[in-house]
């Protein structure tokens, strides 16, 4: 069963990655990142069960905490950009280039 979980987690992670690359709306990109994080959590929990010790779950817990902090900051930035830029598209913020 473990490989199934891991394959699922890999698949979700890949979809998340593709989502980050394809979508232009900052919030959707952000959600895809959350998706990738959840995929990792799944892998952690699977390994916790596989190895029979709590470390996996512990790590997953901490990942959630970090993810929360990240979301807070990310969204604040998105709001700020939206406020000045009137659009949340990721491609608009492209002044930092050659």
């Amino acid at each position: 069963m473990t490989t199934h979980y891991l394959v699922l987690s890999a698949l979700l992670f890949a979809i998340g990655g593709v989502g980050v690359l394809l979508r232009r709306n900052a919030i959707v990109v952000f959600m895809c990142v959350e998706l990738m994080l959840n995929a990792c959590n799944l892998a952690f929990v699977t390994f916790a069960r596989q190895h029979g010790n709590l470390d996996g779950q512990l790590i997953a817990f901490f990942v959630m905490v970090v993810a929360a902090a990240e979301v807070v900051i990310g969204l604040a930035i998105i709001v700020m950009i939206f406020r000045t830029r009137r659009s949340a598209s990721v491609d608009n913020a492209n002044l930092l280039k050659y």
Partner: protein, 638 residues
């Protein structure tokens, strides 16, 4: 073959201070050059005084030398250590060098006196005398030095002096070009001499004449000796305007006439002969080298004569004849000890009568306000008696009129050459005939025939200061030949310096000193003179040069010597320079700048990668991640 005497170091007496001979003119040149405007008034007299001073020292040294026993007559005066461990500069007073010194200072002083008159109207007269003094000093250093480096310093010093004097009227572009050409062609000759000196140093470990005796020279291999001989010959050709480096002599006539007389007749051009005679040890041990010397001599002899026949410019004609006479001397020098005495004898007598004729030509030009074309002369005899008479004496001497100085020395060379090698002998006789023709042509065109003067010319005799040197030189060209050659007096005098020939090499003495070769020469000379009389004496000489046959244009264009140099050296040289400059700017520099531009270009393109879109960066991150995982996988399971 009795080899030259041992060189003995000397101190005391006037010989001890004979370095004054060089020092005085050098001091004169320095004072006149540095003095500037202040020395204008008395500058030329000072120059003449310095030259006369050198002449005086030379005479006293000569007398002191005569006082010694013949074997003692090679005195070496050490001066100072020039390059530690290699060469110490010093002076060698021996019969050969003192005879040269006498010629240089003697004729030199006369020419100094003559120049006082000739250059009286020139505002740079002071500078002219400075350069003349510099020349005399350099020439004396050349002949009096006791080693090859001193000789080389004198050699190039003389080249510099001739550059300065040819280009004296430097505002004339033709004079500047002629001067530059003379110096560069001389430099080619000096290149040969330089390599020769290197070879001598590497083979013998010393450059002093005292060490390079005949026995020492014998030890080196034949090949090296021939190489040294040929290299020295290349140097000699450069300086004495022998083929193939003769093109500069005719252009050198751009300089004032006293310069032509002193440098391009009497002294500098004979430096080559001096070098060949002084390096006798090498040439005698390398017969092939001697043969080449004689061939070069004869070739130049004929070339000079042919050029002489076609030149209308009196100075260029005389220059052609100088070239041919030096060809004789080179031929004599190439015959070994047998020919040395006659070669140097002819050199001295030639110094007198050629200088006499050049100065004569100078006074003619002076009178005809610097007209040089003989076709504008004619019937000058009644107007300029002294110049004419002295010129004719010189003319008779040069064509070898019996009993005059030219006859003895030139006959000596021709007979030794005939004895040595028939072909060379007869070619020399042919040359003598040609000399008879072109010299007679020159005399008849200038002094006899109809008056072909330009309308504003009203010739008058030159002032005394110019005519007296002519007279002295004329007297010299009458008696000197006989004095030197009769009773082998000059050969015995020179023997300590250059050694005596085997009796076998000497041609047997004839009845009344007139051999078959001598008779043939006299006949040819007479024929030449007669033919010249018919063409130029009696007949009407056109004022403008008529269209000429192939042979005459060939001669007028100096046997296309210049055209040859131009085609072989000048054109490819310029072409090579342009390519080198192009290669340097585009090639090497292009490479460097190209490298810089390349780096700039790539960085410009790389800059484009940063598109500013977050998503393209994310894409590259993902690719990176994929690569890492792939690598881990690859590493993991190999």
């Amino acid at each position: 073959m009795q080899s030259p005497a041992e060189i003995v170091s000397h101190a005391g007496g006037v010989t001890g201070v004979s370095w004054l001979m060089i020092a005085l003119p050098l001091f004169g040149a320095a004072v006149l050059l540095l003095g500037g405007r202040r020395t204008n008034a008395w500058g030329h007299f000072f120059g003449v005084a310095m030259s006369l001073g050198a002449f005086a020292v030379a005479v006293v040294t000569f007398v002191e030398l005569l006082g010694l026993q013949p074997e003692q007559r090679r005195r070496d005066i050490g001066l100072f250590e020039f390059i530690p461990g290699m060469v110490d500069l010093g002076m060698l007073i021996d019969p050969l060098s003192i005879s040269f010194a006498l010629l240089i200072t003697g004729v030199g002083s006369l020419i100094h006196i003559y120049s006082v008159g000739y250059m009286s109207h020139d505002r740079d007269r002071r500078r002219f005398f400075a350069y003349l003094n510099l020349f005399v000093a350099a020439m004396l250093l050349l002949v009096l030095s006791d080693n090859y480096i001193g000789l080389f310093i004198g050699w190039e010093g003389v080249g510099l002096a001739s550059y300065l004097l040819i280009g004296f009227w430097q505002h004339k572009p033709s004079a500047a070009t002629a001067a530059q050409k003379a110096f560069i062609v001389n430099r080619v000759g000096d290149f040969g001499l330089l390599i020769g000196i290197f070879t001598i140093w590497t083979t013998f470990g010393s450059l002093a004449f005292a060490d390079l005796t005949h026995e020492v020279a014998g030890q080196a291999s034949e090949g090296t000796l021939t190489a040294i001989g040929l290299l020295l010959l290349l140097g000699a050709c450069g300086k004495s305007a022998q083929l193939p480096l003769q093109s500069w002599l005719l252009d050198a006539m751009e300089g004032p006439t006293p310069v032509s007389a002193l440098i391009h007749a009497a002294t500098m051009v004979t430096a080559g002969v001096y070098l060949v005679v002084r390096s006798g040890a090498f040439f005698e041990a390398a017969p092939t080298a001697q043969l080449v010397v004689t061939i070069v001599g004869v070739a130049t002899l004929l070339a000079g004569a042919i050029i002489g026949c076609a030149k209308d410019d009196i100075k260029k004609g005389l220059a052609g004849s100088t070239m041919s006479q030096i060809g004789y001397m080179m031929l004599g020098a190439g015959l070994g000890p047998a020919g040395y005495a006659f070669a140097i004898g002819h050199l001295i007598t030639h110094g007198f009568f050629k200088a006499n004729m050049f100065l004569g030509a100078g006074s003619v030009m002076h009178a005809m306000n610097d007209e040089v074309d003989m076709r504008r002369y004619g019937a000058l005899f009644p107007v300029m008696k002294i110049t004419a008479v002295t010129f004719i004496v010189g003319y008779l001497a040069i064509i070898g009129f019996p009993l005059l100085s030219g006859y003895y020395t030139k006959e000596g060379i021709i007979e030794t050459a005939m004895h040595h090698n028939q072909i060379l002998g007869w070619l020399a006789v042919l040359g003598a005939g040609l000399t008879g023709f072109y010299m007679s042509r020159m005399v008849f065109m200038t002094f006899f025939g109809k008056k072909r003067w330009a309308d504003d010319a009203h010739p008058h005799e030159s002032p005394a200061v110019m005519t007296w040197p002519l007279i002295i030189l004329a007297i010299g060209s009458i008696g000197l030949g006989a004095f030197l050659v009769l009773g082998n007096r000059f050969m015995n005098f020179l023997s300590p310096a250059v050694g005596l020939p085997q009796p076998a090499d000497m041609p047997e003495p004839h009845v009344f000193g007139v051999g078959t070769a001598a008779l043939a020469t006299l006949a040819l000379v007479a024929a030449g003179a007669a033919f010249a009389w018919f063409r130029y004496g009696a007949a009407e000489v056109p004022a403008v040069a008529p269209r000429a046959s192939f042979l005459t244009t060939f001669a007028r264009r100096d046997l296309y010597g210049d055209a040859l140099n131009e085609a072989l050296l000048m054109r490819p040289g310029q072409w090579l320079t342009r390519i080198a400059v192009f290669f340097d700017n585009r090639g090497v520099d292009g490479l460097v700048n190209g490298l810089a531009a390349g780096i700039g270009g790539t960085s410009g393109r790389l800059r484009r990668v940063q598109t500013g879109f977050v998503r393209s960066y994310a894409l590259s991150i993902l690719f990176g991640a994929a690569a890492v995982v792939g690598a881990l996988l690859y590493v993991g399971n190999i």
